[in-house]
């Protein structure tokens, strides 16, 4: 039966990277089949109506890292791409005060001055210096990492390009880059800022998704990574896609289908088929076989190499590297359906602070203590929450007058010491709700329903190992030409015809699309050879 399925490429997983990869390959004329285990596309970027009229962003909830070239090259606007503007950034404080940053830089100066006069220009220097670092690193971020471990002359050209780029940079920019890439975010911001709420706001953004606190080296790099995004060209700013990130993956699915890719749902892949060390197709868990000379896995490195491929067909040192690759997920989501508008006492009836992220991290120490728990196998007593009431930007997310609130929560380690998430789930969510209620005292009364998504559920529903949102921890030794393993950051694998295109490859996780795009470039290049 097998040969009746004649495809050029099979993509495993219809998350946003699998879909991006499929869309590019189909657009280039390849016959592409995407196999997705779930009954809907999107992976960690889905939107579900859990209650009539209420749209929940189950996992990821905001957009920024998505590479703008993908929007243009895949003509996504035609398929409904529609990122909405987040107007503000709100951080409540323990004493009832707050930091509210909005769209006007000059007005923001006044707001920052309420907290510290020195931080007004401190913040502007911080932004300018980091913006130059971003500008410097962007060409590296936006290209396939050179293979510094290879002897191939073609690779040598790429290495030369890299060295030349590094050599051409301004001394201060190089130094700032290294400080951010290797140091803690707290160390970095201490040089610019003094106000606790402003520092905490930056520090919290640096901890999203990783098992590190703001005082740990490595958080500078994560901050920088997350700041590589943009909305409408405004660096570091986030948007909210119409219909949530699930709305975005629907756009991708429409584009991929329009370019000719076929998406097959409810089709969990069991393993890769090989012959003479080359990929030949895949077998579904129900035994169905699909054949193609190219198979692309959008799953994380652990699944790609230790589950879908047979590790016995891979070099043992490579397998060892993949086995050592760290995941250690620490993120959860608690999503709420609300009967009305949460009120912040100091702002009365105002709602202009609800038009963006609500950042529950009043001090750097609050963040660090939230992290401490995770080190010892427990979840934070006072969690860090990055929330967003999406129905304030997109009225279609909830019935008129009602709202949905997405709460991204840290730190909730995948492995709990002597307990399980099944036992702790509701208790963790209670802490989240109590934290929100502490700042928005009418919150408890508004809650109509809540959905609790802990790392075990993330893993079970998306396949992201240990629930790591990036498909692999952001450690320096797991980034750039080490992602996922030295010598294999070019989307190829030791098995000919078997490729990787998920967040476990360069540049990394987030709704970014770059792995899917780069992998398609590599595949097209290789098939033309």
């Amino acid at each position: 039966m097998a040969d009746s399925h004649a495809y050029d490429v099979i993509v495993i997983g219809a998350g946003h990277n699998g879909l991006t990869n499929a869309a590019y390959l189909a657009k280039a004329g390849q016959r592409v089949l995407v196999l997705e285990q779930n009954s809907l596309v999107g992976g960690a970027a889905i939107t579900e109506e859990l209650r009539p009229g209420f749209q929940f962003t189950t996992f990821s909830y905001a957009l920024s890292l998505l590479r703008p070239e993908i929007i243009a090259e895949l003509d996504l606007v035609r398929y409904g791409f529609n990122p909405l503007y987040m107007r503000s950034h709100f951080a409540p404080m323990d004493n009832g005060d707050y930091l509210l940053l909005g769209p006007d830089d000059a007005v923001n100066r006044q707001e920052i001055a309420r907290h510290s006069k020195a931080d007004v220009d401190g913040m502007e220097r911080f932004q300018h210096d980091t913006s130059r670092v971003r500008q410097f690193l962007r060409p590296l971020f936006d290209s396939i990492p050179p293979n510094v471990f290879s002897k191939d002359p073609q690779d040598a050209d790429q290495v030369a390009w890299l060295l030349n780029h590094l050599g051409g940079a301004d001394t201060k920019v190089i130094h700032d880059s290294v400080r951010l890439l290797t140091g803690s975010i707290k160390d970095f911001v201490d040089d610019y800022l003094e106000s606790e709420i402003i520092k905490a706001t930056i520090c919290s953004a640096a901890c999203v998704g990783i098992k590190l606190g703001p005082m740990s080296p490595g958080t500078g790099m994560n901050w920088l990574y997350l700041a590589m995004g943009e909305h409408d060209g405004h660096s570091g700013s986030w948007s909210f896609h119409k219909g949530g990130n699930g709305g975005f993956t629907q756009v991708l699915a429409r584009a991929a289908t329009a370019y000719g890719a076929e998406i097959r749902l409810n089709s969990a892949v069991s393993h890769l088929l090989t012959k003479h060390g080359e990929a030949r197709g895949v077998v579904l868990r129900d035994g169905t076989e699909f054949r193609a000379p190219v198979v692309v896995s959008s799953l994380d490195p652990r699944r790609t190499f230790l589950q879908i491929a047979d590790p016995r067909e891979l070099p043992s040192d490579f397998v060892e590297t993949i086995e050592r690759f760290r995941f250690q997920g620490v993120s959860s989501k608690v999503n709420f359906a609300l009967d009305g508008i949460p009120r912040y006492p100091a702002l009365g009836d105002r709602t202009d602070h609800l038009l963006g992220f609500l950042n529950f991290a009043p001090t750097v120490e609050y963040m660090e203590r939230a992290y401490d728990a995770a080190k010892y196998g427990w979840y934070s007593e006072h969690p860090y929450i990055d929330a967003c009431i999406q129905s304030f930007m997109d009225p279609d997310m909830a019935p008129p007058g009602k709202h949905v609130m997405s709460c991204y929560v840290m730190y909730t380690p995948h492995e709990l010491k002597s307990s399980t998430w099944a036992e702790q789930r509701e208790n963790m969510a209670d802490r989240v709700q109590a934290t929100v209620n502490r700042f928005f005292p009418n919150f408890d009364d508004l809650v109509l329903q809540r959905e609790v998504v802990t790392p075990d559920i993330i893993e079970e529903r998306t396949g992201l190992s240990e629930g790591n949102i990036y498909a692999g921890e952001f450690f320096p030794h797991q980034m750039y030409f080490f992602r996922p393993a030295p010598g294999y950051s070019d989307y190829r694998t030791p098995i000919e015809g078997y490729y990787q295109c998920g967040s476990g490859t360069h540049p990394g996780g987030c709704v970014i699309g770059a792995p899917g795009r780069f992998a398609s470039q590599q595949i097209i290049k290789d098939t033309r050879r």
């Binding site: 909405l84 503007y85 409408d232 009225p395």
Partner: protein, 399 residues
């Protein structure tokens, strides 16, 4: 003294930016929020309202109303049934556009005209030969545009009559106790309505709309957001896309309907029974092919814009606020071929777009062009291409 519109007491409370401009001697909000982009997104995804009260409003009433209008206006009003509205232009004898506006046929012998500039003197001077009254009703009414995908839901809650209103349809209905005229028209390119409200009841009606709009995230928007949405909709604006031929010193500032991309209004121009002002000249223009311009859309791809800045050591930060001046256009070979009259980064289209006038042979969709930008204090060109208009045209606009 600067005047205020009947809505002003409420609008003043809503204007957190304290940003006002001057529209025909009335205070008119440039923006209410600190960010006009936020207002733009409200219009595009929920709904927004815009105070159009400074528009000049005229009744044209009498047995000769239809005959008069079909003489003055370039688009045939005879096909316009009572209860319908029409986008219009009017020209001078040389076939150059004087102005554009919207005309509403309220009865067989009654029309209501809205226009950006004063036209009372012009209309009355022409009306002398007709049995017709021209009444300036500008101050009798406040007018409000409610635009965006949720506009129907909001107004339906106040007056179910509007539910059935078709695109460019018109109805007289009540909001609370107030008689209002509602038309399904607007300047956003989206589903939307415009209300004409007796000035003394304006605040009451506005408050009812604001209350009905709250659960739908209705927000006020100002001139900046208005300008953004109308460019995406490809709608010309007096003072940007054209100036009135009446006040031009040279023909470089005069344009015919065909040159402005409004030729479609002239359906039936061959019909001898309607000798409207400018007809002869327009027929001559068409017969001799003497149009100097075509109005087209232009766009720049993200990549080209980004590369232009990156290669000059800068970050490309697109601005959705339309540039306040004309943007020069060149052919792929570097020859001057025209200029964009409006140019902006469109959050909807995710690229820079513009409404432009180009020489006819460069008007074909897809023609590669170069768009002049100022980078590092130099004029540098970025690759772009000619597109159709409008950029934004959702099905719900007419559905």
């Amino acid at each position: 003294m600067m005047r205020t519109t009947p809505f002003h007491p409420r609008l003043e409370q809503l204007n957190h930016a304290h940003a006002w401009g001057n529209w025909s001697g009335y205070l008119s909000a440039l923006k209410y929020d600190l960010s006009s982009k936020h207002e733009y997104f409200s219009v595009r995804n929920a709904a927004g309202f815009f105070d159009t009260s400074p528009l000049h409003k005229y009744w044209l009433r009498g047995p000769d109303a239809e005959r008069f209008c079909s003489h003055v206006f370039a688009r045939d009003v005879r096909a316009l049934r009572p209860g319908r509205a029409q986008y219009q232009v009017w020209c001078d004898d040389a076939g150059f556009v004087l102005e554009d506006g919207v005309i509403f046929r309220t009865a067989a012998d009654e029309f209501f005209l809205t226009a950006a500039e004063p036209n009372y003197g012009y209309l009355t001077s022409l009306a002398r030969r007709y049995e017709l009254d021209v009444v300036d009703a500008t101050e009798d009414f406040a007018s409000l545009a409610v635009q965006g995908p949720r506009s129907r839901d909001i107004l339906r809650a106040l007056t179910p009559d509007i539910d059935e209103l078709r695109y460019f349809g018109l109805t007289h209905t009540k909001i609370g106790d107030t008689e209002v005229m509602v038309s399904r028209t607007g300047f956003s390119g989206d589903l939307g309505y415009e209300l004409v409200i007796p000035a003394d009841a304006a605040l009451e009606v506005l408050d009812a709309i604001i209350a009905a709009g709250e659960p739908h995230l209705l927000r006020p928007y100002g001139e900046e957001a208005l300008n953004m949405v109308r460019i995406e909709a490809g709608l010309p604006l007096l003072g940007k896309e054209f100036t009135s031929s009446r006040y031009a010193y040279t023909d470089a500032h005069r344009f015919t309907p065909d040159e402005l991309g409004l030729g479609w209004l002239l359906k039936g121009i061959d019909d001898e029974s309607r000798p409207f002002i400018g007809r002869e000249a327009i027929l001559r223009e068409r017969a001799t092919g003497s149009s100097r311009w075509r109005t087209v859309g232009v766009a720049i791809e993200w990549r080209d814009y980004y590369d232009l800045f990156a290669s000059n050591g800068l970050l490309a930060v697109p601005d959705e606020i339309p540039v306040g001046w004309e943007t020069m256009l060149y052919s792929a070979k570097g020859k001057r071929i025209g200029y964009a009259t409006s140019f902006m980064y469109s959050p909807y289209a995710q690229r820079h777009i513009g409404i432009a006038r180009v020489r006819p042979k460069f008007a074909e969709i897809g023609t590669e062009i170069q768009v002049e930008q100022t980078v590092n204090h130099e004029y540098l060109n970025v690759r772009g291409h000619v597109t159709g208009l409008p950029f934004f045209n959702p099905e719900r606009k007419v559905a």
